[in-house]
């Protein structure tokens, strides 16, 4: 009898635990499955580098009465979490990180609430163009990144080159001289591994060379892209890039300039500070940020790769979320985020102020370059970006590993894009 009671009790408690487990957080869900924000409480899903400090959040709460709960998630996982939640009609967070490369698919999937942005703000933030599709601003950029060129002045001088490279041909000749004089074995740092950075390398190379990557119909501009691919092929064949760049991460390839094993890089704006950090750079004081080269002279435009935040369409508290986005991307917060999170401002006015007051040092052509950023996507980032990028970086990687030549690599990525467009 006693045994039966114990068994029954165990069964009962397990069933209760199970039901309780399944019903966890049920009080926070509304009938539509969205996260119900009690009063003015919102959630903000962001990678570690975008997390505001407690003091900053407290001042926002004091100012607006809106409480913010931070969901710190790895950058890679944010898109996955959003997708999984959205597939079930759930709201992963009220305010979410939006990388420039995600915006096309987020728009197609209808996950973002359009934002109202003044013309003044639009003019101050050129990278906002990347997050604008069909005249709708889908997210506000908070961390700036665009392609800027860097070269090691001492290594160039050692190889007998005294002038800063103006064109891509100048860069090629300089790299040949650096190699032939034994100054640096593999002077050009570029991502060639099968990863996103490799696709963007081809994009900015074609864009800065010819001002076009895609035609209006979304297909590659063959002349421009093929020319960029052939340039990369030359770098590979003449061993001006390091063999390990073909299989190591793009960031490792970029970092070679800080290690002194590369003399030229077109890379993220973060290298302005990296190149001055003695913990990260062994050639501090030798690296100069310059305008990205072009075909006839300096490039007329460069590619932006910013990060933004947007309001989830499934949010129950859209107004509060919009207020937060406005506050987070305000000029004052951009200054604060530069100080606390080392974020490069997306507002040119703030960037200029920080450069002028010496907060950002050794900026070189950073500000000048920021003023000529422009998106290479004529109709906005497409919804099939991830698949297109995958086809691009795999084809480039195969070319780097000697499996394809430039024409074959182009054909492979062009046919993959054709399929995606037809789909």
């Amino acid at each position: 009898m006693k045994k039966r009671w114990v068994s029954a009790l165990l069964v009962f408690s397990m069933s209760i635990a199970l039901v309780a487990g399944c019903a966890g957080n049920a009080d926070k869900k509304d009938s539509a499955g969205g996260t119900k924000t009690e009063g003015d409480k919102i959630t903000f899903m962001v990678p570690d580098w975008g997390v505001p400090t407690d003091e900053q959040l407290a001042s926002f709460t004091e100012e607006t009465g809106i409480e913010v709960e931070i969901a710190e998630v790895g950058w890679d996982d944010i898109r996955e979490k959003l997708a999984t939640a959205a597939s079930a009609g759930k709201c992963a967070a009220d305010v979410v990180e939006v990388d420039w490369s995600w915006v096309g698919e987020f728009y197609a999937a209808d996950w973002l609430e359009p934002l109202e942005v003044s013309d003044e703000d639009k003019a101050d933030m050129p990278t906002i163009e990347t997050f604008t599709i069909d005249d709708k601003v889908l997210a506000m950029p908070y961390a700036n990144d665009y392609r800027l060129a860097y070269y090691n002045t001492e290594q160039f001088a050692k190889a007998g080159i005294t002038k800063e490279p103006q064109t891509w041909d100048d860069v090629l000749e300089a790299c040949r001289a650096l190699k032939s004089t034994g100054t640096v074995d593999h002077p050009f740092a570029i991502a060639l591994n099968a990863e996103e950075k490799t696709s963007t390398c081809l994009m900015w190379l074609a864009y800065t060379m010819n001002g076009v990557v895609w035609n209006e119909d979304g297909r590659f501009n063959k002349e421009s892209v093929l020319e960029a691919l052939k340039y990369m092929e030359t770098l590979i064949n003449e061993e001006l890039v390091a063999p390990e760049d073909k299989t190591s991460s793009g960031m490792d390839a970029y970092m070679r300039i800080c290690g002194g094993t590369a003399s030229f890089l077109t890379g993220p704006t973060s290298f302005v500070s990296r190149s001055q950090n003695e913990e990260l750079c062994s050639v501090v004081g030798q690296i100069q940020p310059i305008l990205v080269p072009g075909k006839e002279g300096k490039a007329a435009q460069t590619m932006p790769l910013p990060e933004a935040i947007g309001v989830n369409k499934l949010s129950e508290n859209k107004e509060a979320a919009k207020k937060f986005v406005e506050w987070y991307t305000s000029a004052d917060m951009q200054k604060q985020l530069n100080k606390t999170n080392s974020a490069i401002p997306t507002r040119n006015s703030v960037l200029e102020e920080l450069i002028n007051d010496g907060t950002i040092q050794n900026s070189g052509a950073m500000l000048e370059q920021a003023k000529i950023v422009s998106s290479p996507f004529p109709n906005g980032v497409p919804s099939y970006y991830a698949q297109m990028s995958s086809a691009m970086y795999n084809a480039i990687n195969k070319m780097a590993l000697g499996e394809l030549n430039a024409e074959q690599a182009y054909d492979e990525m062009a046919s993959a894009l054709e399929e995606l467009i037809n789909e």
Binding site: S7, S15, L18, A83, P243, E244, K246, N394, N397, L401
Partner: protein
């Protein structure tokens, strides 16, 4: 009446747990696999029957991934079994440091797969990897070898890494199997004039087969489902992708939940067929 209800009542929690966490997802995934369901096209979700399966089976990318999967599977199963059995044989020898050796042998199994991949990337890295440094140092090569730069060499490296992680489990299972064979059987066999090979063939091998079967099943599932090591060694490159990565990319990178679910089903069926094959072949009545 009470006696009839009680067993069902006792089973209820487990049925609920299995139902919610195992059977429901399996059924739901199957229903997704029959739909055109791409998250970037929310207005175009519809039933399309087996079209996702047809598309997958006609895709070159899928068969490329399948070839990679089969390569990894064969290499891992063969070498894990051989090395695992050898390690078990060594661990069976009773020495002073048996406990410590056993703990050391288990270590690779305890490592998270991604960490395992990162560790081995340091060994096989093209530029400054340990192996290249070693080979260059002893003058065996004059240029670093790009171990991760070719399809087959990359697959070989991935397979070696998975073998390294799988051997401890196989060794433990084999050791358990070997220790469960009563010593009397060997004594009887010796009295009957059995030689070393005959004893192994007629006693050790048949009695250990069910244990090896368990090890093989687990190893095969590990080899089919290898993911972290591939990402750590070669990222999301086409070069070394297997069917699990193809499924992951389709579902979470390209946001095609319909096709991704179909691919998941194909991976599951592949593992299921192997599991059934092992169980039927190795779990037979033993005569000795």
């Amino acid at each position: 009446m009470k006696k009839k209800i009680l067993p069902y009542l006792l089973l209820t929690p487990m049925i609920l747990i299995m139902g919610v966490l195992v059977f429901y997802p399996i059924i739901a995934t199957f229903s997704y696999s029959l739909k055109k369901w791409k998250l970037t096209a929310p207005g175009d979700i519809r039933f399309i029957g087996i079209k996702n399966y047809q598309d997958i089976l006609q895709s070159d990318s899928f068969w490329y991934s399948m070839q990679n999967t089969i390569f990894i599977l064969l290499f891992v199963v063969v070498f894990t079994t051989i090395v695992g059995c050898l390690v078990a044989a060594f661990l069976k020898i009773d020495v002073k440091w048996s406990g410590l050796l056993l703990a050391l042998a288990i270590l690779p199994w305890a490592l998270p797969p991604f960490v395992n991949g990162i560790l081995w990337k340091f060994v096989f890295f093209s530029g400054y990897g340990f192996l290249n440094k070693l080979l260059l140092g002893i003058g065996f090569i004059s240029q670093p070898i790009e171990f991760l730069g070719g399809r087959w060499s990359l697959l070989l490296v991935i397979s070696i890494v998975v073998v390294w992680r799988s051997v401890p489990f196989m060794a433990l299972v084999c050791l358990a199997g070997r220790q469960s064979i009563p010593g009397e059987l060997y004594e009887a066999a010796k009295i009957d004039g059995g030689s070393g090979w005959k004893i192994f063939r007629h006693i050790t091998l048949p009695l250990m087969l069910p244990f090896v079967g368990v090890g093989l099943t687990s190893t095969s599932v590990t080899a089919i489902n290898v993911f972290d090591e591939v990402v750590a060694l070669s990222g999301y490159s086409d070069l070394g992708k297997n069917i699990l990565m193809e499924s992951y990319l389709t579902t979470f990178t390209f946001l095609d939940f319909g096709k991704g679910s179909a691919m998941t089903y194909i991976v599951m069926l592949f593992a299921l067929i192997l599991g059934i094959f092992y169980l039927r072949s190795l779990n037979k009545e033993v005569e000795y």
